[in-house]
Symmetry: C2
Subunit: 314 residues, 2 copies
Amino acid sequence: MDNYSDRLIGRIKKKGNPCVVGLDPRVDQMPHFITERLTEKSDENVRKAIANFHRIVLDTVAPMVPAVKPQIAFYEQYGLGGLLAFLDTIQMAKERELIVIVDAKRNDIASTAQAYANAFLGRAQLPWGDEPIFDVDCITISPFLGRDSLDPFVRACTEYGKGVFILVKTSNPGSRDLQDLKDSESGQPIYVRLARMVAELGQEVIGKSGYSSVGAVVGATFPQQAKELRSLMPRSIFLVPGYGSQGGTAEDAAKCFNSDGLGAVVNASRSITYTFQDRDISEKEYARLVRNNVETMATELTTAIRTHVTAPHE
Amino acid sequence: MDNYSDRLIGRIKKKGNPCVVGLDPRVDQMPHFITERLTEKSDENVRKAIANFHRIVLDTVAPMVPAVKPQIAFYEQYGLGGLLAFLDTIQMAKERELIVIVDAKRNDIASTAQAYANAFLGRAQLPWGDEPIFDVDCITISPFLGRDSLDPFVRACTEYGKGVFILVKTSNPGSRDLQDLKDSESGQPIYVRLARMVAELGQEVIGKSGYSSVGAVVGATFPQQAKELRSLMPRSIFLVPGYGSQGGTAEDAAKCFNSDGLGAVVNASRSITYTFQDRDISEKEYARLVRNNVETMATELTTAIRTHVTAPHE
């Protein structure tokens, strides 16, 4: 069984950048060459529109980036058609040898968390035997219910060669409300406490690369905290949201990297896939726009990381 | 647009008890009269097994209880077959005039939370117009990402006459890890801070009953905290998990109720639907067992609530 972190680090090195393209289906905002075929109301039509849109994105970005991040909320909002398109997207991404990180932020008590771990990383028990369901590389999870709620996911990482990113410090303004509160015992913010838990949980799933398959979500929008969290979780890979549309810069995101120039992947969703001004854009122009957006992101990030690594204490 | 809390309180009064039956599909544990038909491997077969199992449960409990709580993790673990069965379950529960509370603990940044709110409570935007997707009465949500992540759900409560239960103090042992930490500023546990936020968010969605459509999840396994939380959120309805299999007693759960004998619903899942010793149980015996389990729960709870209300300071 190969280790998820080794797989991800290998893919980052091969592609020469740590960019993740976020896949957020928003049918009402897609180009007309996709939505013009959506005349008849049916789940199958919604599925086709979302799958066709993402086929273009995946064909374009597959040679360029190590991973993609489907945000399941945007699929779930379309019900059955959305779920079918989610399955299609995963399948297409795998065929193109992209690492698939599902952004789902699932969380529940242990027995229920086990069901989520089965769904995304492991196998469901059925009368005809165990069966993989979504079978993706990695899922984001929330630590709100505590350690016992995370254990089933961590076990699945070991058992199936998968990964998790545990929310530690999210990119939204409201992350201050709970994650920044200081624990009266230690005087330190909750996110510090969570970081220690992530580092500990990750000890058992460290690959040959030296990195763990238990990673952390750390927003690019809080670069000061990112520096602190980097030192608390030296072996955890960070999934860094908040770059692009949410206001985080390449320099901010660079603070999530270690001195080896590794240790994080940076996600951009809308700023890669929805930057067209005119929904009448052609398929060819759209693919070119996505390619340009990824190229710009990769260049900005690799430059900022190089600068950060050579002068980390700036 | 009728108010969710009024709808729920009305249904509780009509049925004479605050019991919620949790629906957790575990195909590998269902009676043989369900699984014996599952010979051929297909999503449609998995769907039928789950839907048939829950049709019996729903037929049995519909005259007895106000609401049911499908736990989406247990559906999600079966992929497409599971989602189809989830849609069937919702439809069957609505036809039987049961309130549907989906236990999903969804959470994300505001723009993504909006997609979840659209999926479960509101409408998705499609070229042929807005369309309801799951369209259930209520969903459980997690506050880990802070206030801005909750707002889209609260807005959906007002706009569509729906409800939410926000996690405040969950029933699992690990709820101590984060929810019990004391904030250094106030010296009070995180769950107290969350309770104040729930009470504030709920102000705008108070129905004729005096209760809000913004409720809280408070585990029966922590009765001391429940008493405190009851006083902090007088107008919030509590969804109380942890009764039954998880060890919470009727007396523990009763502490979540107000002096009017209202203000909470108590869930039981496995201790209602999976108590048979022998998977060779017949359909008729299974239905009788479920009925007996609900009767016992309703009697225990209504007795405990009556005792609690007449001697609340015991």
